[in-house]
């Protein structure tokens, strides 16, 4: 696995440092679902601060990651979408509907912990 997944308490944190390829995005989806179950995580944070593009493929995969992780019983949030990236996504017609979003990792953690059932059990 080329994209590292860190664990902080019961939250898995993924910082996308360089633009992932399509294959790496799909691998991340598999890996995160596995890890949520095996490590008993209740939250997943994906930091996209470093990404200059979120195209339709990346967006669809992030949405699927959110769905997969939620099905497994955790919550996922995307943090750090840059303003230019958000603007391009909106123009393209894309949204992260149904996903939690926050400014940065710190706010993302706070947001996850404010979800029912996530903050209470530590």
């Amino acid at each position: 696995m080329s994209i590292p997944i860190l664990k902080h308490g019961r939250t898995l944190i993924v910082s996308l440092q360089s633009e992932p390829t399509d294959a790496e995005f799909v691998e991340l989806q598999h890996e995160l679902a596995q890890r949520v179950t095996t490590t008993h995580a209740n939250g997943v944070l994906i930091d996209v601060t470093a990404l200059e593009v979120l195209d339709s493929f990346a967006t669809r995969t992030l949405r699927e990651i959110g769905q997969t992780v939620t099905l497994c019983g955790a919550r996922a949030a995307i943090v750090g979408v840059q303003p230019e990236v958000a603007f391009a996504m909106a123009q393209l017609g894309l949204s992260l509907d149904g996903m939690l979003t926050a400014l940065d990792l710190e706010e993302g953690l706070a947001l996850l912990h404010a979800q029912p059932g996530v903050g209470v059990v530590t």
Binding site: E19, T21, D22, A23, E52, V53, L54, D55, S56, F57, T59, R60, Q82, E84, V85, F87, A88, M89, Q91, L92, G93, L94
Partner: protein, 132 residues
């Protein structure tokens, strides 16, 4: 200053190379940050379509200068199966793959000018321009 660049699209890493190259040229031309994101996103969508539908092809990124008005032109070219019904392909949500179907109509929205030439059997050429 490089004024034209051609990237062969054969694997998913080439998508990243192509949009990076587009960004770089945009920076050289002095495009604002917002436009750089629009250009890179458009390249990404067109390059992925080449890979998905034609298997391989190329992305050309060039500077256009029309009477002193400068623009960045993206040309996506492949010898794939072509698009049978262009009107349908340009509709939001229409896709013949497992995809979202907003690539072509989305690129049209991202860029200032947009043109597709495609015939079944003779490949597809998409040209999209962002003016400065």
């Amino acid at each position: 200053m490089s004024i034209s660049s051609c990237i062969a699209i054969r694997a998913d890493v080439d998508i990243i190379t192509a949009r990076q190259r587009g960004r770089d040229l945009g920076v050289e031309l002095g495009f604002p940050k917002t436009d750089l994101a629009l250009i890179a996103t458009a390249i990404s969508e067109l390059a992925r379509n080449i890979l998905t539908y034609a298997g391989e092809g190329e992305i050309e990124i060039a500077l256009e200068d029309v009477g002193g008005r400068r623009g960045l032109v993206i040309v996506a070219r492949d010898q794939g199966p072509g698009i049978a019904d262009l009107a349908l392909a340009l509709q939001d949500g229409y896709s013949t793959s497992r995809s979202l179907g907003i690539g072509l109509p989305g690129v049209r929205r991202l860029m200032d000018e947009f043109d597709v030439v495609s015939e079944p059997g003779s490949g597809t050429v998409v040209k999209a321009t962002k003016w400065q």
